[in-house]
Symmetry: C2
Subunit: 322 residues, 2 copies
């Protein structure tokens, strides 16, 4: 079955919108507890009720309010990020020991940051645990392309068969998650080398930051582990126009091969659902910014543009160095 | 006082968000009636209560429900767009005769379309009346620029002193509203000739559709007429890289002059608040898409990108020709 571009966007941005249906939105929220940190009057993530029931919340660390549907990390008033992170790490370690959650079996040994209102750093936690807390995560995606007289062609990798998540699906030329302390530009430079063997000097000189896409994903079985977990994501977007002589090559075991696809080959692969869901919207965003998808040829243009730039329900980071 | 880019976005996109503050959002909505059309279970616009009280709603055409805060255009079940438009036109004519509203003194003699869920055309109404009904309006904005060894330069017009709205402010190279039946591409080609004397063949050959910006504006005194009116807007965005030999020139009496400004001159003019509010966000969008504003140099990057691609609270059009 052929998928429209809006189908692809909806697969990725599949958490409901208040303005679309207030009743349905309120019903959905009943399935979640709000994740909070003491001292901050703001929701930092949505924890699905099944996780709230199963997680071994150590009593001296967490306060659960079943009526208000909140789960609050309780700390001293003057707690710092290191102290909060340690309390969260202890709790996650307990859950790992008890074998409560499938997602925790995919331990990455990478720390993802959590930010409060105003963008201040609150704490960090193991990457694979973030969907349990439903917190915003950050990444960077780059589209590498070449242009000749016949038009644009895209360097599209196929994920390894052995990848834990979305095996054998098509991906963006380079993509990766941002660990605590990393900035988008350095993330994309690092991943370009690690995933595509692209020389650092070429990437630094030519990669162009062109915006970001944001969406709220509810995980299905393709992501591995528990389903229904909420994953709000920010992906900083980069374009890299490459000289035809520069050929990306797999460097680690995450990528099987790179192929150079035409616009129409990418469109066909999108329609067949061959791209990893969030990578498909990076391609759609590229097509919109480069005039390939237009208001006159894409029936869902407005809906797509708004949904791939979703305003997050929780505070987000600033990666500004100034 | 210097304005940040987020200040400029907030001036333009100044209707509250549900997720930011649910209580404040609900309080704001109390100031409005929902505009509805019989047969469609959807809100098509927000009419400020002061307008509801003052507008001479002919009883055989409108049903006002003060408890539910709705204003419904009542028609036969099988009414068509021409019939609905005629009923609305009669009502607006009555309001003009009674001199109820300042905004109706700025008669444009242009018809703006209203779309229902699924994007079907419901009716059209006089352009200057749309803010009274709070319906979504559509336009197209183009940034004309040149690139040389020193970087990018932008063709920035200053609006005529005699313009009814935002006199003497800076504008985008070309910008205009889309009347009923018009498509974005033809709108920008027409306006490029009318406002900037740009030859049609150059525009058709080189103008690039690069997305759209969307926001919900609550009008202040600079817009002229009543304040507090809601104006959700969709602006299709175009870039046009021009040869240095092509110089835009005023053609009608709406533009005073065109100047070629550097990136830093545009940034300074933005910070001084010299751009018409919605034109400032078109420049900001250009800066983001072209890597001039980056996650590392713009502290409010994520907030800006999400807000200038606001998901509308009402149904929107499809301008697709397929």
């Amino acid at each position: 079955m052929t998928k429209t571009n809006l189908d692809l966007v909806r697969e990725c941005d599949n958490f409901p919108y208040y303005q679309d249906n207030r009743v349905a939105y309120a019903e959905t929220l009943k399935n979640y507890h709000e994740f909070r940190v003491s001292g901050y009057d703001v929701t930092l993530g949505y924890i699905v009720n099944a996780v709230v029931e199963k997680f071994p919340w150590p009593e001296h660390i967490w306060s659960i309010d079943s009526a208000a549907q909140t789960v609050t990390l309780v700390t001293d008033t003057n707690a710092d990020p290191a102290q909060r992170s340690e309390l969260v790490a202890q709790s996650i370690a307990e859950a790992v020991k008890l074998g409560c959650f499938e997602v925790l079996k995919g331990w990455r040994n990478e720390k993802y940051p959590l930010y409060g209102p105003g963008g201040e750093f609150l704490l960090e936690m193991e990457r694979c645990a973030t969907p349990l807390f439903g917190i915003v995560s950050y990444g960077a995606h780059m589209t590498g392309y070449v242009e000749d007289s016949t038009g644009l062609k895209f360097w599209v990798p196929r994920r390894a068969k052995t990848k834990q998540t979305y095996p054998s699906m098509l991906d963006n030329t380079v993509a990766g998650g941002m660990s605590t302390g990393e900035i988008p530009f350095e993330c994309i430079v690092r991943e370009a080398m690690e995933e595509a063997s692209l020389p650092e000097d070429i990437v630094r000189a030519s990669v162009l930051p062109v915006g970001c896409v944001t969406y709220t994903h509810v995980r299905d079985s393709r992501a591995g582990g528990e389903t229904g977990l909420v994953q709000p994501e920010v992906e900083y977007v980069y374009d890299l126009k490459l000289d035809p002589s520069v050929v990306p090559k797999p460097c680690d075991d995450e990528v099987e091969e790179f192929n150079l696809l035409t616009v129409s080959e990418v469109k066909d692969a999108l329609a067949r659902g061959e791209f990893k869901p969030n990578c498909s919207i990076i391609m759609i965003d590229f097509f919109i910014r480069h005039g390939i998808l237009t208001p006159e040829n894409e029936p869902d243009y407005l809906d797509i543009v708004a949904r791939i730039h979703r305003r997050m329900e929780h505070p987000t980071a600033s990666h500004c160095l100034k």
